[in-house]
Assembly symmetry: C3
Homo-oligomer: 529 residues x 3
């Protein structure tokens, strides 16, 4: 059998022939790597004459034919160039791994296919026998934890790690999601909303939040090569790279959301395009306003001159303006080597206020699992309709101050205290005023409910309600994001900002009157006939 | 006379003095070229000591003064660095030309000004005498065919090559175009729609689809130089680079749409910005959703490290994520040299379904000339209002499967069969559901027609009709594009996606009621008085 | 005292130790600079063994600890690498300074912290004693004038230099701004518009136009370092980098708008991202349409190969397609060294028509201070509601022709006269038709006023009025911008173009009818009861 052959019989030199001859995988790439990255100094840090484990060699032997892009991508990664043992020889502040005890069986090899896809097999529903090896299809944060425990622990307790359950286990958000994404059919002229299909949730909300990936059994697939058909686990809701993915080993999260596919690149994660996959207009326009900001302007102009691979990241030397990662999670030092900010994979750790209004902005929640929040109206939301906070579930002033100081410390790398003070004072006012604009919209919606023009049973499905959603979810949020990120003035003025906040209230007002008239008219008609 | 002087008397050394002295055109550039492109290995392929034809030298002699940017652009191109004869010396798979018999009179020279602007003079209405030479203003695909016959033949039968006639010869689309682009004047409070001016069509639809370029006669223009005034053909609807341009030699198409101006660069055509000139939101947001997708994220992060000039294009080595050209038309090989996909300039060749709904998505049309389609309601469209397909004009299941397999083969370079299966299964569901959302909107519009609230004579000019257009042209299309391209989740959820699909139905429903009331009221008023 | 120590006692070698040891500021950077910029030839132009003034050394001594990013940014600038004396040794056409007599006390040093932050102290409200030196917080155009007098003079008389007063001193625009940006509260169901807070104006309009920066007194701030607390001027409306900023020395303008922060980079100003901070959709979508245009496509593809630092800028050699700066203000020469366009910092100098409709497009105003304009309806606007021009305040045909020729000369670097003629003829038609579409919207709004449906007192606050604003401010402008910049066809057709121009008129028409009915109904109700 082929798999036995692969496991036992194929001499190493044959595997190497396949991989490194005609395609000259490694050599070509490594020379390219030097030129491309300005990371020349890094090459000294890589393991010379690195060894791939016997199992990984077997993976490569076939997959350099069957899916060569994956193999090439991995060969471009640090994982293929350094062993855990050598990674630990760097000074602590320069390390990219947080374990101090990598398992002995992998510590002397490159971090290859088998090293990652074979972790914790007993937990993996998706573990299967493949060409003589036990393989997991999905590599989860619990597997990455082997070498990156600190990052995993920070991540799984963050809002991002909990993104799936936060949307699916909260009945209010779940209703919103179903109302938007559910198919609508017309019956006797009426719009009938059906529950959203999981596929459509996957295409929309769960594309970013993550899906629940489960094993439905085994299936045969064609490799399209001489290897013929192979049996593989049949995964539901796959492919999926949303940040809060529920994995077939019971863990949550997807590291590939930001370190995509097999290059696991810190450079990719540090560039704003990664965050820009999800943090987009109209609801969370972080990437949009960044691009229009002074920081974004400098990034776009200078990115080719910057160093995105250095650890720790040196402000002023490696970069001269921040990307998303700079402010929110990277380990930063000054040119003199002083730590400006510690690395964190809890992306809320430097945030005191949550600009993303639900429906008002509020202090960051204490727990990344926000489905546990209950407000005074008994709703699972951080504020009531009138803006009263569910303070028991939100961080207190001391914690807010601490986080504010962490962020301010980043700003101070390049800005004076007075400059920073002025910036955030303006943000405080913006938060206050946009929350007021949300409250004004809420009052108009309540008027529509009270007058029986629309009904409060599902607060998301009628037209005045939809205008109300726009007010807080699109426009108030947008103005706050623009304000926080050194300004995206046209965005805050016209694009999705004050122009819309004001226009929207006027539309709600006029629509109440039009619908009221329709209603009266219909009532009168009913009386007349 | 100057032209005689240029033709007969100017010694070559004078021409060369003008071109290569003070401005040192060629030398400076070629050294620059090496550094910029990562294309060092290419230099070996260029013709050493290349010769420019006598005619091209004469062109350059003046035009390096009159329009130096054009000359410089050409000097940066491959056309200036290799002769057709030398281009043919490469192995077939590495060739950028598809002829095997270039005409003898051009085969030993660089592909210069005169070589391109003098082809097929007898067919060119725009051929004129210029400084002693017969020159065509417009270089058409029929001229490029001299060296690139396969590309031209594929292109002229594609939907893209037929883009002008497909929009202008189809009465339904022509009505839509006129309704959108026609000037509206107010007379007695009524909106009067006038036919769109050709200039405005040129600024909008025909900017991408192409204009009809004809010669209206000759005119004198000032060169603004010592050369004084010159007589040139007076071209209508020019400049024009739309993909389906109708040329003054009777041919269709414009190669410069994607290989712009005089550098004719494969790099430009392979980068997504080129497609992003036309394939944009809100109607065809391919570029928008690509940028938000995982593929787009990797492209934006890594493009500086990739090789956009290699032929064939090596997956994994030259690029580690696809651009538009990768999936849709480039010649691709594996690192081991196996062909993954053949080059095509019929951009539908790897597409089985047409996501672009008219008004429903449908199998790709058999012919690039879609003006020949007639559906069961006798309308020149691929589906009826209720979604019944004009199957006789659309490819059958076998052809769909064949094209699907071509595309899947590209995906398999980097993804497992199971991964690809999951991806396209989700797309199938998205197509089904978005078509249903279009049908729901159609039902509401028909209700409005049946009730006499709006009239079906022109189905594009009234407000409920315009909401209906948004449903299929903007929102259903957007969700499908997002789904096809590995996800642009925020786009599919909020930006132009399910949020709008649902909101839009609600707006149609409410507007029907408001307008119905207005109508009744007006009728009642009429009765009362 | 620390400041005395810094001023008098710290030996130079200590300062240098701090700056150049552990962080090795200068050496590392300059080597990096060479690699990054393709500006190798420039290095010969820099001052070898450049000296920093004693005062600047003192600044750096602390600030390389307190705000290292600023110091590093400056070290990357030309200011740190060349003295004014050496800058003057270049041929006039290559100079980046326009003075011929730099003050003696700064001419032999790098242009450092103190050189810029100590100019004209007697005029600066924000001058204060800091560590033994008199420092201005804000560096204004009047300070930059020391070395760059021509640029400053051009700038302060431009519309951009006057951007603050043009919006704040014009009662019509001020009303518009207040209506959009003012908080709206609901009282008894009515929307009450309050005056906009200055903070919100700062976040929106004044973010681009500039704020008025004044000194409110002194305040203590923590440096967060061993230097403890320091007293600094308390500035209002700060930070602020809008183009028409009113400075604490009484001057107008902010050079950092386009040459940001301490690198003062010509490269940044020449790339389109800088203009793209403010010239954005929906009102002034210059950056948006550029990105979709052929020029933008070529820029995005080729920017890595271009030279953005060369002075003068050589068309065809340094760049092969224009950025915003190329057409609007840079000093351009041909590869042969002929001047194509002179440098200008009056960004209207090559513009004959103002595409930005107020409310119709019109010839450029004579003065950059547009608050002096009065039209025939006695309103401070360049045209009346029906489109009659305030010609006394606008440039005449001769001046228009002269500016048109300046621009055409830029185009001719790469395009034939006939090509350019065709392009601008299409623009002329677009201007005419979009102004007509604006007039149609105006007529409908006047109908609504005449019928008492909305009231003309504030022409910006009701729903039909807001649709009217969209017509000229968003859609007519967008189509004109797209037309001017070699085409952004999808933008002009669908995005914010003709689709919206037409849809919007229909919405206005329907809304007039709906509101008229509501009004009548209410009147009838009143009569009945």
């Amino acid at each position: 059998m082929l798999m036995l052959f692969l496991r036992n019989a194929m001499p190493l030199w044959i595997a190497f022939m396949i991989v490194f001859s005609s395609s000259s995988f490694a050599s070509e790439h490594s020379s390219k790597h030097k030129a491309a990255h300005k990371g020349e100094r890094e090459s000294g840090h890589f393991t010379p004459d690195i060894k791939f484990s016997k199992e990984t060699q077997a993976c490569i032997a076939c997959h350099s034919q069957v899916s060569p892009g994956i193999v090439k991508d991995w060969l471009s990664s640090r994982h293929s160039k350094i062993t855990p043992t050598d990674a630990l020889k760097k000074p602590a502040i320069e390390r990219r791994i947080s374990t101090v005890n990598p398992p002995e069986n992998i510590s002397q090899y490159a971090v290859g296919c088998f090293e990652c896809h074979s972790q914790n097999p007993e937990k993996h529903q998706d573990n299967f026998e493949h060409m003589g090896y036990r393989i997991n299809v999905v590599v989860s944060p619990s597997d990455c934890r082997t070498c990156h425990p600190t990052e995993t622990e920070q991540y799984v307790k963050s809002k991002m790690g909990n993104a799936y359950r936060n949307i699916m286990k909260n009945p209010v958000y779940h209703t919103l999601v179903n109302t938007i994404d559910g198919r609508k059919i017309i019956e006797n002229g009426k719009i009938i909303i059906q529950d959203a299909s999981y596929e459509t949730l996957h295409e929309t909300c769960l594309g970013c939040h993550g899906t629940k990936v489960e094993v439905r059994g085994m299936k045969k697939v064609s490799t399209g090569s001489t290897f013929g058909d192979v049996a593989v686990p049949d995964l539901s809701n796959w492919p999926s790279q949303g940040v809060g993915r529920e994995n077939p080993d019971g863990s949550i999260g997807a590291c590939t959301s930001c370190h995509p596919r097999h290059s696991f690149s810190i450079e990719t994660a540090r560039k704003p395009y990664t965050c820009g996959q999800c943090h987009l207009d109209p609801d969370t326009p972080a990437f949009n306003v960044y691009k229009e900001s002074k920081h974004g302007n400098i990034y776009d102009t200078k990115e080719f001159e910057w160093n995105f691979s250095n650890v720790p990241w040196v402000i002023g030397t490696d970069i001269t303006a921040p990307t998303c990662a700079t402010c929110h999670n990277s380990l930063l030092v000054s040119p003199g080597g002083n730590v400006i900010a510690e690395r964190t994979h809890d992306f809320g750790e430097r945030l005191w206020v949550r600009l993303f209004g639900l429906i008002y902005s509020h202090p960051q929640p204490k727990s990344g699992d926000t489905s546990i929040i209950i407000n005074k109206d008994n709703m699972p939301m951080p504020a009531t309709f009138t803006g009263e906070l569910a303070s028991d579930f939100l961080i207190n002033q001391t914690e807010q101050d601490s986080r504010y100081n962490k962020m301010k410390n980043v700003c101070k790398s390049c800005h004076s205290s007075n400059y920073i003070y002025g910036h955030f004072k303006k943000l405080d006012n913006t938060i206050k005023e946009t929350d007021e604009m949300t409250l004004s919209a809420t009052k108009l919606m309540v008027e529509a409910w009270d007058k029986g023009i629309e009904n409060r049973k599902n607060p998301f499905d009628e037209q005045i309600e939809k205008l109300w959603i726009r007010q807080w979810l699109f426009y108030s949020n947008s103005v706050r994001y623009a304000s926080a990120m050194t300004g995206a003035h046209d965005y805050a003025a016209f694009k999705n900002g004050w122009w819309e906040l004001s226009d929207n209230l006027q539309k709600m007002r006029d629509l109440i009157e039009t619908k009221e008239l329709s209603k009266k008219k219909i009532v009168e008609h009913a009386k007349d006939h």
